[in-house]
């Protein structure tokens, strides 16, 4: 299959965002590593969406859906387990977080415009909403924004 614009965009996304996230996870203090771990979802999920479009396989979108759902959940687990280690630090990188959210929104909108309107469009929007809201909630949890929640 010839490389098209979607696959090229996914490659750039994975090569830039994915590599940066990997580097951030592998080096530096724990506070930086959890942020990079959280950013991994935001970097890889749009790339999976672009690849599904590039290869013309709509069912591949399910991978991105699962990642958008489980990635923030994984971050919440880290936020809870590392709560004592990160107590005084409140790691946050809001510029990076909003940049990643904007990237996800741009990719989802581009795919929505490229495809014909229908249930697939709604599915893409659901994935985008999950990705962005999950990212924001997980980032806020890492920054200590949910200390007041008890129970469960």
């Amino acid at each position: 299959m010839a490389v098209n614009g979607w696959i090229l965009a996914a490659t750039i996304e994975l090569g830039g965002g994915g590599a940066a996230a990997l580097w951030g996870v592998a080096t530096g203090p724990p506070a930086r590593r959890v942020i990079a771990q959280n950013m991994t979802t935001s970097a890889v999920c749009p790339a999976l969406l672009l690849l599904a479009q590039g290869y013309g396989r709509p069912s591949y979108v399910d991978l991105a859906l699962l990642l958008a759902l489980l990635g923030p959940v994984g971050t919440l687990v880290f936020a809870r387990l590392l709560g004592d280690d990160l107590a005084g630090q409140q790691p946050s990188a809001w510029a990076l977080t909003w940049t990643a959210a904007g990237l996800g929104a741009a990719v989802v909108l581009a795919l929505c415009v490229a495809g014909s309107p229908g249930r697939a469009t709604v599915k893409l929007l659901v994935i985008g909403a999950l990705l962005i809201s999950g990212n924001l909630v997980a980032s806020r949890a890492l920054a200590g924004g949910f200390r007041g929640v008890r129970g469960g």
Partner: protein, 64 residues
Amino acid sequence: MTRRAAPRAVLLAAGELLAWWVVLALLWLVLISTVDTLERIVGASCAAVGAVLARAGRRAVTWR
């Protein structure tokens, strides 16, 4: 001795369950690949179970 719940509380609970069910059933219809009768039945059933779990989960968490 059993205490009967107030009608208002029962209505509120039923309304919340119905809202969850509608949202979850719509989500199911969006995420499946082909829509047919079997999918509708399975989706409605799963949404019903999900609605009960969602309400239980919401009630388990308290903000303060």
